[in-house]
Amino acid sequence: MKKKEMVAMLLAGGQGKRLKSLTKSLAKPAVYFGGTYRIIDFPLSNCTNSGIDTVGVLTQYEPLVLHSYIGVGNDWDLNRKNGGVFVLPPHERENGSSWYRGTADAIYRNLKFVDQFDPEHVLILSGDHIYKMDYNAMLQYHKERNADCTISVIDVPLEEASRFGILNTDEDLKIYEFDEKPSKPKSTLASMGVYIFKWDVLRKYLLEDGENALSSHDFGKDIIPMMVENNNSLFAYPFEGYWRDVGTVNSLWEANMDLLCDNPPLNLNDPNWRIYTRNPNQPAQYVAPGAKVSSCIVNEGCIVHGEVNHSVLFYGVEVGEGSVITDSVIMPKVKIGKNVRIHKAIISENIVIEDNMDIGIERENEDDILLIDKKSKKKKPIAAKTI
């Protein structure tokens, strides 16, 4: 294999339990977002747009959708002769077989994969976040400081800081302490889970960590604290821009809603930084006479007869006459009948909503987002509309 300056390793094996039924049969990185994307499109497109052409995708939990989605990577221009995208599920080895025991372990078990490219640096990504980022700019920063490890950070509000891995740095952003979810955060620089390591340095730590039976084999809990302790040079790379963790039903909904204002903080229409995705090749969307669509994102293949306001419609969604949809995310191929009202809900793929249903109109908690899936329909029938 041809030598590469940097290889990306994308951790895509997580389940994302807090996304409830959305991750029942697919891994979190394969969850839909923004009318046409899956979460993993963002890191993959960032790689392509940053000129990184070699990406290993580490999969484990329910990988079928993810594997077939990534395919040979042509949608992200990652079907390359030298490099390209490689799907790396756990595999049996001479001395037995087991699952990936943690994020670091997933890389440790693929040392041979990375070694093939003899890279100077390795970029570690996760498939959990929505953001646009130039990893090449981060690499330049990493090289300028001759860092062993550079961690991308974002400034978070102090009251939220205890949800993140917090980095304490000196003035020139050199990291002297890493606090994983601290109860009393000393800084507001949160790790985005984007790391660049010198490969020879990381390799050494991975070998050590791999043999350590007491380790949880996690970058945040084990590798990075160990590097800080050993006085390796670690730097924080401040990222400015839109970045969202979409690990819960509420945060996924919120990130979708972020796209709907007239000047959204995340611009998906930038021709210089396209987010690539698999195109479902649907005919143009049809907005019928009498329909009303405003503050919305609507994908091809949708047929709208009703009123859709401040919502995201994935491809192939049909909205019947007299229906009103507000503040909701409607996933692919959902068929919504006539005179349906939907408010503040996420409707899962392929669901059929019968005529005259009310969803989320009368709710116990205004802050909770209703997640409608095949089961929820059967379990608690949605009250018929009463006029």
Binding site: T277, P283, Y286, S295
Partner: protein, 367 residues
């Protein structure tokens, strides 16, 4: 073994869509928000899983080649067979062939290399959802030399004037192919025949100074050949003039037409990576087809909008076809217009055409 190969022959298609075909062939004209005319026949051929498809094109093929690439979008980037774009490259000094026979004579290898035994010929002006496999089976059942495809239309339209007619007896055997304008069986520019017979006829007709295969070999020899008619019954539109382009574009806004063209089988086209369309707060859209990548803040009514179009606040578009990447600035008004790609219409401008005679704006203009 695949039994079928295809030929898309653009030699008979006049580029008569005015500004839309100054720099591109009719086959490459954008249609229905995100397709080009050739996508429909290619998608039909893709479904029939043809061994190879040859595209015979004489001129203005740049945009077509850009669109087709290696045929991947139609699953025609195959190791063996697949899509062949065959512009003129004619170096045989002994060649005396004329008309579309030139294409066949100079590309004999294309036919001979394929192992398929039957060839389906088609143009691109008739938009259909034709089931080619069914036609092939019918051809075999009839034991015909040639099977031609026709559509019986209820109501003749002005654009049908240019179409040939297929007269059939009660067993669907063809008893005449002609231009009688009041006849309702339109010939859809599509036929199938055995490859060996086709090659034999090409050789013979070149030797006898003929020039157009369908006219000189099939139409004129209908008494010497067993010609069957295959009646096609699905969606049909013929695009052979600006008026027919405009009319058939807007007729897709009728759900029956939209469904019969798109719902059963997907139509494939070159993939673009556009974000879904954004409707801003002030958007007011009704009875329109809209592709992805648009940002709409104005009013759009009875119109067909292609990918990446921006309609700014206060702009009004009615009864129009707006192609890729046009930008319509604040308070501009457009009515009965066909706007080719990349046009920028500035603030407050007003463009109004007639509903029978739309106003056409050429590609990349700034107004």
């Amino acid at each position: 073994m695949k039994q079928l190969m295809g030929v898309i022959n653009l030699d008979h298609e006049l580029d008569n869509l005015n500004e839309l075909t100054y720099f591109r062939s009719g086959a490459a004209v954008p249609f229905a928000s995100r397709y080009r005319l050739i996508d429909f026949v290619l998608s039909n051929m893709m479904r029939a899983d043809l061994e190879s498809v040859g595209l015979f094109v004489r001129r203005k093929y740049r945009s077509l080649m850009d669109h087709l690439g290696d045929g991947k979008s139609w699953d025609m980037n195959r190791k063996h067979g697949g899509l062949f774009i065959l512009p003129p490259d004619w170096n045989d000094p002994t060649d005396t062939s004329l008309g579309d026979l030139q294409h066949f004579h100079n590309n004999l290898d294309f036919f001979k290399r394929a192992s398929a035994k039957y060839v389906v010929f088609s143009g691109t002006q008739h938009i259909t959802t034709m089931d080619i496999e069914d036609m092939y089976k019918y051809h075999l059942e009839k034991g015909a030399d040639v099977t031609v495809v026709y559509k019986k239309v209820d109501q003749l339209q002005p654009e049908h004037d240019l179409c040939q007619r297929v007269e059939v007896d009660e067993h669907n055997n063809v008893i005449g192919i002609h231009h009688e304008k009041d006849h309702h069986n339109l010939y859809l520019d599509m036929f199938i025949m055995e490859k060996a017979l086709f090659l034999e006829k090409v050789k013979y007709s070149i030797a006898h100074g003929e020039s157009y295969f369908f006219r000189d070999v099939i139409q004129k020899n209908r008494h010497n050949l067993k010609i069957a008619g295959y009646e096609y019954k699905g969606y049909h539109a013929v695009i052979n003039s600006l008026e027919s382009y405009y009319k058939n574009s807007l007729e897709l806004l009728e759900p029956d037409n939209y469904f019969s063209l798109f719902k059963e089988n997907p139509v494939q086209t070159k993939i673009k990576y556009e974000a879904p369309t954004r409707y801003l707060e002030s958007a007011d859209v009704s009875n329109s087809l809209i592709a992805n990548g648009c940002i709409i803040a104005g009013k759009v009514e009875n119109s067909v909008i292609f990918r990446g179009v921006q309609v700014r606040k206060g702009a009004r578009i009615t009864n129009s076809v707006i192609m890729q990447k046009c930008v319509i600035d604040e308070n501009a008004v457009i009515e009965n217009v066909i706007m080719d790609k990349d046009v920028h219409l500035s603030k407050d401008r007003i463009l109004v055409g007639d509903h029978r005679r739309p106003f056409v704006i050429a590609k990349s203009s700034k107004i």
